[in-house]
């Protein structure tokens, strides 16, 4: 796909940042407001889709850094599963929330009932949210890029080694 006109590109560049920032907001406030890693990651991935539409595949790839995406995805997932292992390593259980109510990082206590919310609470949940957010952003972007390039590659016949169709009688 070729890049679209200058107006579209300018608007996309200026709106893209808001989309990304909103996605980050949704991710890091997952334990206080509606949202979380999946939703925020999906919001950020729509930003990538916007860039692909406006700038074409090559431009969007340069903006996002496609080579880094698989590493990013694995890093997010490894964050998630290692945090889950954390509880088991401390000798409690897999997925034990070992930071909640302990003070320190994300360890503040919450007042019970309706409250305005404390950002520094919820233990490992915000960290897991971030890991999952990274994974979803990278994953959905990879799907978008793979489908974008894949359809092109398939059309040009670069995807398959053996192009002749063997017609077997069945």
């Amino acid at each position: 796909m070729k890049p679209m006109s200058k107006i579209v590109r300018t608007v996309a560049a200026s709106i893209g940042w808001f989309v990304f920032v909103f996605g980050i907001y949704v991710i890091v406030h997952g334990h206080l407001t509606p949202g979380g890693g999946f939703q925020g990651g999906a919001v950020m991935a729509t930003g990538v889709a916007l860039l692909i539409v406006a700038y074409g595949g090559w431009g969007a790839e340069r903006c996002v850094g496609k080579e880094r995406l698989p590493v990013f995805e694995s890093a997010g997932l490894l964050t998630f599963i290692i945090l889950a292992f954390g509880g088991a390593c401390l000798g409690i259980t897999f997925f034990f929330n070992f930071l909640a109510n302990k003070g320190g990082l994300f360890g503040d206590k919450l007042p019970l009932g309706i409250n305005p919310g404390i950002f520094n609470s919820a233990g490992v949940i915000p960290l897991m949210n971030m890991g999952v957010g990274m994974e979803v952003l990278a994953g959905i972007s990879l799907i978008l890029f793979a489908m974008f390039y894949g359809t092109k590659r398939v059309r040009e016949g670069r995807c398959l080694v053996d192009n002749e169709e063997k017609e077997e009688d069945v």
Partner: protein
Amino acid sequence: MSWTEHAPILIIAAPLLVSFAIPLLEKIDYRVRNAAAVLSLAFSVWMVLIVLHKIWGSGPVVYVFGAKSAFLPLPSGFKFPVRIMLEIDNMSAFMALSGSIAAMVGVIYSWAFVREEEGGLGKYYSLFLLMAVGMLGMELTGDAFNFFVFLEIASIASFGLIAYRREDPASIEASFKYMIVSTIGAIFVLVAIGFLYGRYDALNMAYIAKHMRIGIVERIAFVLLMVSLAMKAGAVPMHMWVSDAYGRAPAAVTATLVSVSQASLYGLFRVMFSMFGVTMNNHFGGWMLIIFGLLSMFIGVTMAIVQKDIKRLMAYHAISQTGYMLLGVGVGLAVLDNPVALRSYGLAAMTGGIFHIMNHAMYKGLLFLTAGAIFYRLRTFNLNEMGGLARKMKYTTIYFIIGAAAIAGLPPFNGFASKLMIYESVYKFNPLLSVVAMVVSILTLASFVKVFHSAFLGPEISKTRDVREVPKSMVIGMGIMAVICILFGLFPGMVVKYLAGPAAVSLANQTGYISSVIGGGM
């Protein structure tokens, strides 16, 4: 407590961790990646053995995620479980053992079978591990929704793997067909779980089983679960995807895919025995399983005889062998509310059916791997283009003979032991069923004689002139399965005493399953 306390979760988490790390490990060296994949699955086998040892000592193992202690399923002061838990009794551990061995052999075999120049190998190994994770998760979990999630992991990973050889249009087609049917089945499983959630406000299988009161909603959920899982296990007449998918996946994948379908079979048994059990009309459920089993056995084997594609032929045999398991366990379910009949032949039938699950995973895996070995050298599945391979591929020939003898039920091999148990105990229930099972066994032998004749015997034809034995890793992979086939055939008493027999007893014992979570007081 020692670290073996966490053995139940390590069965699942070790391959999962490695599969997440493979995109990073791949950057180091391909050998590191392959070795990590093999080692993680070997670790899983070891952990399954540890858990099995624990179950022999002290009954079903429960592992609760995120709780203060892994062994207290209920929150203090409440009578219902709120967290996800793994619930491993003899049956689960038995299935996990067979599945993890099959997956490990599949990865070892893939080392040489899938070549670097085909591309996408890191993704291949990741997906392979994820498929194994999905299978193990289905077999170990005690939570209905968690079962659905792992069902989807196993299915989606296998869609990708079936389509791995995408130069072949038929493999894409097979993957797509499997995907459509399997997704619909998974959605119906989700709908059924939703129904049960709406009635009982719970997702734990043991809790639902304890509070089960039969009404229309439960009946409909039961039918949705039963038919969807029977479809995933490949029962006739919902078997068409099996022959496509097994026939077109890479051989190493197919050998594991057999175990993945058996995880669905396990889910079916778990739902029918542990969730619904005798509170539901168990004669109906048992007879449904028997009818599915008879249809699968007969139609599977008759379709297999006329095939000329070697893997498709074996895939139809996989359907037919699934019929034996359904028949054996179905007879057990049909007499579940009759303690006298259950003791005199029901448990033996169930033991035979369950023993057959592991035997089938081993010999059918072995046969698919030999078919893959032939494909590796000849690049064709068509039996008409083969001949005289016995001189060229000695190990493969021996392994094929072992596998074929086992699947046809020739005496010293493992297939005979489990089939004999099924024949003789089903004979007491209804002689006609036993006769059909024997006829199917004869037809199985006939079709494997055909494969042996056209692939391995006969003169050396021009296409097979410069064929050599397959690489070492493939020989090792097939060897492991062949050795297991022989050992299980020579020592069936050990397997029945320590693995299959306790599995059948724990499957029939619904109150035991419930009380390991909820506690004794009903």
